[in-house]
Structure formats: structure tokens, C-alpha cells
């Protein structure tokens, strides 16, 4: 063996594993249904194909260019199919690819994956490859030369997979030297190249090439390795030497792919080949009749005089993406985790609305708005579901009741089972139901009695104080508060807290066939001094204007009122002296979903208005606005109050201004709360007249006669 040192050492392009997501699906299914805890080695099949010039495509900035892609060995769901298809074992499959036999070790735990004696597994496969070479089995079935290893651990709870491929290559007895590398077209004629292309399709991944020696006979044929004696003996009479070829997954212009390594060992060991011409068969489909990326190598193989008796040293563990000899991982959560799937699907579905109808829709703002629902009954259930449909992900329920048998038919988050054994706490049951509908929601249920004026229990002073503090903290940590309880006085404290803490407050209340949905006016910190200079409404005429009846315009818009701004009495116990039909919310059943949907849509309109909760309501107009009138924002008007009348199937938009004697939102009340906190609330609760005295309502009452409220539609 006389190898001139000036010829460079041949380097082989390593295989790069390409795992199709369907492989992980199939592995998961097999693990659960077939393997279970059995971690015995399994036969699998890998696939590679002649390098395809179109498979390298790179982008850098705006420029895209073709580059050399990796030499891929792929595994897919079909990799688990049994090996009974001997046709595909021997040769090329339909798509022009070839199969490689592999062995899969799937461990049951990550610890076993780490502890697995990888060197032993690798050596075992190397032994089998060597055995197939020395026995001649690889001549009959050359795919045995490409035997590979795959170690896996499937974390089926997190849809995460750890894996490591090994592509064992027996090390040569001495480095292979390359005398020449040429494109195939420089070596053979176009006719011969075409003969090569058609020939490879019928033969297999490793083959012999017989080139006619006579100058006038321009032919080439591709033969199986079994025809060695005939082909080579014939060829040796000429000057062509030994020519072989293989299906080359590499696209490197000067290097062959990894599968050639064991083939060269076969040539050296079995036939004592010391010089060989190798065609690395690749494809370019820009013109199917040529294979210009194929290369031809002239190699010198330093062959030992005697065949070694033991398996040569072997390399070929795949490096990870950090170029280390270490395992890789795959995260299939986005494809396999139903929670992540639901998350993505809900988001993309909402985005369709943005793409098609409202390009400026602020879905992210909606999704991140934290909503507090005070009351988890008919209104609370419907509001929560509509919020969920809008992609709101943070919803907290407050209620102190339990689910009763009359609830489920009207309150869509509850079922019959929630009523059993005394009934589940409503807030918790509602939150649980919401999570069952959409696990991506952050839903919490708080069992809490809202402290109410006129409902004072002396022995519960401490409990009331802590309830005030709890509610304050809850309002503080949310962005929007929905008032959805079944009594007027239970809305007083959340109204005060919402105003005081600068939160969006949406209030919804039901009559028998009428409903009210309103947003409370925001605190105007900067102009608190000037707001007192606004003309205050006369006591005999509550500060209510409707878009249909009033043409009054005030240049700086006055602050918007709250639920209590129209009242001339303080909230008090409205439940104790009532008959059952007055205590329960007796309403037409369709009303609550109308009101709840309207309440949520009002919040969405607020969030999407450039001024948010400070958006001005539509100015009063002599006639009701027509649905085809243009609106200042894509989602339309942001009214202050919507009053719905089921009797006439109509809505009325109303604007009501803040009342400076309001028991819930007037500056006096806010200042007292700021100064005394829970103590002020306790005072208000203990003495129903306290609020009337501090706000001046009492004096006003004494100065006027009783009033019939024109707009008392929310009377429960």
C-alpha cells in the first residue's frame, strides 16, 4: 500500500436526523397502547433520499439563495411499520428514497435514558454491521450498512421528547485519500448520466457501475453488488478500474455523505479493493434528465493485508444543535397538548375578526384585562361566558350563595350536580365550570358576602371589616369590575371602591322585562376643583338626560354618573320587607343574556376606544341614532347607559351626569373613604341615614317632597 501523502484525507458529510412530528405522535401511541412499560429494543425504519438541489434554501434578510442543505435521515410515522415489505428493504421506495434499518430504545424514565449504557448499545450495532460485512449479508442486502440507533424518552405529560441518533460508521484501517473530485458531467456523457439515473431507481442504495470500455460504445449500466464477479472481472480487462456508486444524501460539492463509509469498508474487506471510483448519486429536478450535482470521487483505500478479526472502532453519535455530542429534545406541546391547542385556536379565531372586520381591534388589551364579577348568578354566568368568548383570560367571581335547584336552567355555568348535598358555593362552582369550558382561563371563585348598608349585624363587626379589606384588595388587583348582584345595596361598596381605585365599573341590573347596563364615570383627579363649579342639577330634576329628549350641551363634558347618582335616598335594606317575588329576580329568562352580553360589549367598546373609560358618550341627538350612521370608532359608540325594553324590543341610550350628593361616588364620600377606610364603611353600614347626612341628601330630602323616579327600571 503506497499512498502518496499529498492527496487529502477524504471527509464524509455526517447524517443529520430529521424527525417528522408524525413520528412522535406514533411513538406516543405505541408507548401507550403497545409497548407500555416494555422497553425492549424495537426495529424501526429510517429514510433518506438522494440529495435534492431544491432542498437547500436560505434566507438572509430579503435575499434568498440556494445553499447546501443537511444530509438528512428522516423518521416518520411509517418508521414503525413492520419490515415485511422486502421490496422497500432491498431497493428504492417510490419517492426515490431508500430505507435504513434502525433500532429504537425507548426508555421509561428520563433517568433510564441518562443511565442507558450508550457505548454498549452502539458497540452492539457496530458488531452487527461488521458481521453483515464479513458474512456477506450486506452484499445481498446493502441497507444493512446503514443500520442506525435511536434512543428516546417520551415525556407524555409534557409532550416533550428526548432523543439521540447514532449513525455508526466503522473507522477505516487508515485514512481514505481522495485523488480527484469531479462533477459527474465531466466524467460521463449525458447519455451515461441518464442511464445512471434510470439505473439507480431499480437497484438500490449501493451499487456497481459498469461503463463500456470501447470508445464507440457510450453506455453505462447500474448493477447490484451481487454481480461483483461478473462486472469487475469484465471491467478489469479494461482500464476503468472498479466503479461503484451510492445514493448520496449529502449535497456537499467536494464530500460524500456518511453512508459511503461502511460501503468502503465492505469493498476493502470483502474484495480487497484498494482504489475505487465512486459516484455520489444526487438529484436535481430542475431538469429531470440530468444529475449535475452528482460527483465522482477517485479514492485510494489503504487496505490491510489481513482482515481484522474484531470489529473496527466505530463513530457516529449525532451532535446536538450546539455541536456537542449530547441528546436533542423536541417539544410537541403546540401540536399535542390539548390545552395549548385550545389556546391557539381561540386566539386565531378572534384574530379572524381583526383581519376581516376590525383591523384596529385590540385583542391583546382585551385578553390582558382582569375582570372581577361581583355576583355569580344569572348575570355573572352569562357575563363570564361572553368575556371568555372575547378571549379574556383572567376572571374572578365573588358570591356568598350556593347553587340551588332553580339555578342551573337560568345560570349557564351550573348543572344539576352542583345543587346536590346543599349546593356548591356559587363562585367556586362558576370558576370550575369556566375552566372546564376553557382550561386556558385563569378563573377564581371567592366566597364573600359584600358588606351592605342597612344589613348591619353588630356581632359581625370584625367579619365585616375583613370583608371590606378583602373586597378592596380584589378590586385593586383587577382592571374592570362588573356589578351583577341581585340587590341595589350590595352594589354600593364595589361602586365606591371602583371609583376610588380608578377601575372600570360596568353595572347591569334587571327588571321584569327591562334592563340597565351602564358604565360608571371615572374619577377626574385633575379637575376635581373645577367639577364643583359645574352647574349642579336642581334637586327636583335628577341629573339624567336622554339622547332623545334633551338638547343640552356643556362644552367641557361633565363627569358621568354612577348607579347611585340618580338616587335621593341612601341604599338600605331592600330585601327584608319584601314578598318572595320581589326578593327573587323575577325576570323574563332571555333578559339576563341580553343584558350580560350588552355589558361585556360595552367593556370591549371602552377598551378599544382611544380614551378608554374616559371616552365621551354619544352627544344627545333630537332623534335616536340610526344604525347606519357613521361611528367615531370601528366598534361604535361608547354610551353611558343602555336601557333595554323587552316589551318593545328597543334600546335607549342615556347619559347621566355625576351627582355631587351621590352616596357612592361624590367627592365627599370618596374623601371620607380615603381618610377613614373601612371605619367609614362600617359607619355607613351601621346607620342608614349616615350617608344621607354626610352627602347632604338628608337636607335635600327635607327641602323637597317625595319623588317618583322616572327611571326606576332596575327595581328588583
Amino acid at each position: 500500500m503506497s499512498t502518496p501523502d499529498h492527496h487529502p484525507i477524504l471527509q464524509f458529510d455526517p447524517l443529520s436526523s430529521a424527525v417528522d412530528p408524525t413520528f412522535w405522535h406514533a411513538l406516543s401511541r405505541n408507548k401507550i397502547e403497545v409497548y407500555r412499560l416494555d422497553d425492549a429494543a424495537r426495529a424501526i425504519t429510517g429514510y433518506y433520499a438522494p440529495y435534492h438541489a431544491a432542498s437547500g434554501h436560505q434566507q438572509r434578510g430579503a435575499v434568498s439563495q440556494l445553499v447546501v442543505g443537511a444530509a438528512r435521515l428522516a423518521v416518520t410515522a411509517q418508521s414503525f411499520d413492520s419490515e415485511d415489505d422486502s421490496n422497500s428493504r432491498k431497493g428504492m421506495n417510490g419517492g426515490g428514497g431508500v430505507v435504513a434499518p434502525g433500532v429504537l430504545y425507548n426508555t421509561n424514565t428520563i433517568e433510564e435514558f441518562k443511565k442507558l449504557d450508550k457505548s454498549a448499545v452502539f458497540a452492539q450495532v457496530a458488531d452487527r454491521i461488521w458481521e453483515s460485512i464479513t458474512s456477506g449479508a450486506a452484499v445481498a442486502d446493502p441497507t444493512l450498512l446503514t443500520r442506525f440507533i435511536l434512543l428516546t424518552f417520551a415525556d407524555l405529560k409534557k409532550y416533550k421528547f428526548w432523543y439521540w441518533f447514532g449513525f455508526p460508521a466503522l473507522l477505516p484501517f487508515a485514512p481514505v485519500r481522495v485523488r480527484a473530485v469531479r462533477p459527474v458531467r465531466e466524467v460521463w456523457s449525458a447519455r451515461q448520466v441518464e442511464a445512471l439515473r434510470t439505473g439507480v431507481r431499480g437497484v438500490g442504495p449501493f451499487f456497481l457501475v459498469k461503463v463500456a470500455s470501447a470508445d464507440d460504445d457510450d453506455t453505462l449500466s447500474v448493477r447490484g453488488l451481487g454481480e461483483w464477479d461478473e462486472v469487475v472481472r469484465h471491467d478489469e480487462s479494461g482500464d476503468g478500474g472498479v466503479t461503484v456508486g451510492f445514493v448520496d444524501p449529502s449535497g456537499q460539492p467536494a464530500h460524500p455523505g456518511w453512508p459511503l463509509r461502511n460501503f468502503l469498508i465492505l469493498l476493502q474487506t470483502r474484495w480487497k479493493v484498494d482504489a475505487v471510483r465512486v459516484v455520489c448519486y444526487r438529484e436535481t429536478l430542475s431538469s429531470t434528465t440530468t444529475t449535475p450535482t452528482s460527483i465522482v470521487l477517485d479514492l485510494t483505500l489503504p487496505t490491510p493485508s489481513t482482515t481484522p478479526t474484531t470489529t473496527p472502532k466505530c463513530v457516529g453519535w449525532e451532535k446536538n444543535s450546539m455541536a456537542k455530542l449530547s441528546p436533542r429534545s423536541a417539544d410537541l406541546g403546540p401540536l399535542m397538548d390539548p390545552r395549548q391547542l385550545a389556546d391557539t385556536a381561540v386566539d386565531l379565531n378572534l384574530k379572524l375578526m381583526r383581519w376581516r372586520i376590525v383591523p384596529t381591534l385590540q385583542l391583546e388589551k382585551i385578553a390582558t384585562t382582569k375582570c372581577l364579577l361581583v355576583g355569580s348568578g344569572t348575570l355573572g354566568c352569562h357575563v363570564a361566558r361572553t368575556l371568555l368568548a372575547w378571549g379574556v383570560r383572567h376572571i374572578t367571581f365573588i358570591d356568598n350563595g350556593t347553587v340551588s335547584f332553580s339555578n342551573p336552567v337560568r345560570q349557564p355555568l351550573f348543572t344539576f350536580d352542583d345543587c346536590l348535598h346543599g349546593g356548591r358555593p356559587k363562585a367556586q362552582a362558576a370558576a370550575d365550570a369556566l375552566k372546564r369550558i376553557f382550561p386556558g382561563v385563569h378563573a377564581t371563585g371567592i366566597n364573600l358576602a359584600i358588606p351592605m348598608p342597612g344589613h348591619y349585624v353588630p356581632s359581625a363587626r370584625d367579619a365585616t371589616t375583613s370583608a371590606v379589606e378583602r373586597l378592596t384588595a380584589l378590586v385593586e388587583m383587577h382592571d374592570a369590575v362588573f356589578l351583577l348582584t341581585d340587590s341595589r345595596e350590595s352594589r354600593w361598596l364595589p361602586t365606591l371602591l371602583g371609583k376610588s381605585l380608578g377601575k372600570i365599573v360596568i353595572n347591569s341590573a334587571l327588571g321584569f322585562d327591562t334592563f340597565l347596563v351602564m358604565r360608571h364615570g371615572m374619577r377626574q383627579c385633575a379637575s376635581s376643583a373645577s367639577s364643583s363649579s359645574h352647574p349642579t342639577p336642581t334637586p327636583s330634576e335628577p341629573a339624567t338626560t336622554t339622547t332623545t329628549t334633551t338638547t343640552r350641551t356643556t362644552p367641557p363634558p361633565p363627569a358621568l354618573g354612577c348607579y347611585f347618582c340618580n338616587d335621593v335616598v341612601a341604599p338600605a335594606d331592600s330585601l327584608s320587607d319584601r314578598t318572595l317575588d320581589q326578593q327573587c329576580t323575577v325576570t323574563r329568562p332571555g333578559l339576563s343574556s341580553l343584558a350580560s352580553a350588552t355589558a361585556v360589549e360595552l367593556l370591549i367598546s371602552i377598551l378599544n376606544h382611544p380614551l378608554g373609560p374616559n371616552a365621551a358618550p354619544p352627544p344627545p341627538t333630537p332623534t335616536p341614532p340610526h344604525p347606519s350612521d357613521p361611528t367615531p370608532t370601528p366598534l361604535g359608540l361608547v354610551p353611558h347607559q343602555i336601557r333595554g325594553f323587552l316589551t318593545h324590543y328597543t334600546h335607549l341610550l342615556v347619559t347621566g351626569h355625576a351627582y355631587d350628593k351621590c352616596t357612592a361616588c361624590s367627592p365627599t364620600v370618596l374623601e371620607l373613604y380615603a381618610a377613614h377606610g373601612a371605619a367609614f364603611v362600617l359607619d355607613a353600614i351601621e346607620d342608614p341615614t349616615y350617608l344621607e347626612r354626610v352627602t347632604g341628601l338628608k337636607q335635600m330630602q327635607m327641602a323637597t317632597e317625595h319623588l317618583d323616579l322616572e327611571w326606576d327600571v332596575e327595581d328588583e
Binding site: 464524509f12 430529521a18 473507522l171 444543535s321 450546539m322 441528546p327 429534545s329 403546540p334 379572524l352 376581516r356
Partner: protein, 207 residues
Amino acid sequence: MVPDGDSLSAKFQADALSYLETSRSSNNPWTLVNHCQIVKTIFNVVRVCREETQSGVLSQGEELAEEMHEEHDLGALPCSSRDQDVNVEFHVIYSQTWQVPVMYFSAWTASGSPLSLDELKAVIKGGLPEIDEQFRTEYGMPVVSQQDHPVLGVPFFTIHPCQTAALLKELTAKSNDPALTPLMSWMSVMGTVFHPLPLINLSYFQR
């Protein structure tokens, strides 16, 4: 007579076959999968430099600190690049419901980890994001949602088909080339959507 679903899907089948014929001469032909319901590309591979993508699976580090040492090997070509291979696969499936072809697509790294839509948009630079603005207004085309692939049963991204019929009608009205089937016209639109991925053989349209 209004054509029924079967004759429409037969029309799709015929158009698909003629489309395959034109794509056969391209670098990366489409293939017909099952009884003419699917036209499918083999891998379209995009290589992404790690530094170009900051988030998600593309830059996901390996967490299992385990390293092995192998025999010194003069014969291995050193990996020169840390680029990540990304496979993007396109399936065109005829929808019986909408009676139009529907584009399904998915992308994953060499490990099989799927790319999110945002990551995919980063790969298709200048492609998908454009549909949000210019493309949407031009064709009133709703963009991407996620649905189970009707044949494979795994989640794929899809271009919602609700505007496709209108688009096809418009394209057919504009066209005066009888050889240009509606499917081909639609594919040319899809080609601009996913540019610069070689979805279609542009040379056919540049005659």
C-alpha cells in the same frame, strides 16, 4: 344546473392533475396524495440562522447536560454552520363544504418541534405578515387559523376558505388564458402569500 359536489371535486381533480404536470418541471414538484383530495409538497426547507430568531423552539437550548466522547475521527466533515433546518409543508385539500381548494400548512424543526405562527412568519420574511395589511385589503382575504388536518387529523394552520370562492371568481374573470385553471390562478396567489418559499413554479407564470 348547479354542479354538485362530486362533479366539482372531479373538476378539482382534473385541475390538480394538470397543475402537477406543470409543476413537474420545477425543482420541487407537488405530489398527489390520496384520491385527488390532496396535493402536497415534499419538504420545502428553509435554513434559519439561530441569531435571526430570538424566541421559541428555534433557539431552544438543549437541557440535558450529558456529553460523550468518541474516537478521534479524521473522516468527519466538521459542521460549519449552526443554522437550523425548518421544514415547511403545504397541503392543498379540496373542501366539500366550501367547494374550493384550501391551503393547509405546517412547519417544524429537524427535531419535529412545530413552529408557532409567529415563528413561521419570521421564517417567511415579507410573506405572511403582508397578508395582514396589503393582501387582506386587496382580496378581503381572512388569514390564518388553526384546524385539524382533514386527512391526517393533526393540527395544521390553514387559510380560512370563506373568501376563496370570491377570489377565484375574480381571478377567473380577469384571466384570458384558457390554460390557466382556477386552481392554478389561486396557486399563483398563494405563491405570493408564501414568497419567498418556492410554493409554485414561478417561471410558468412569467412566460
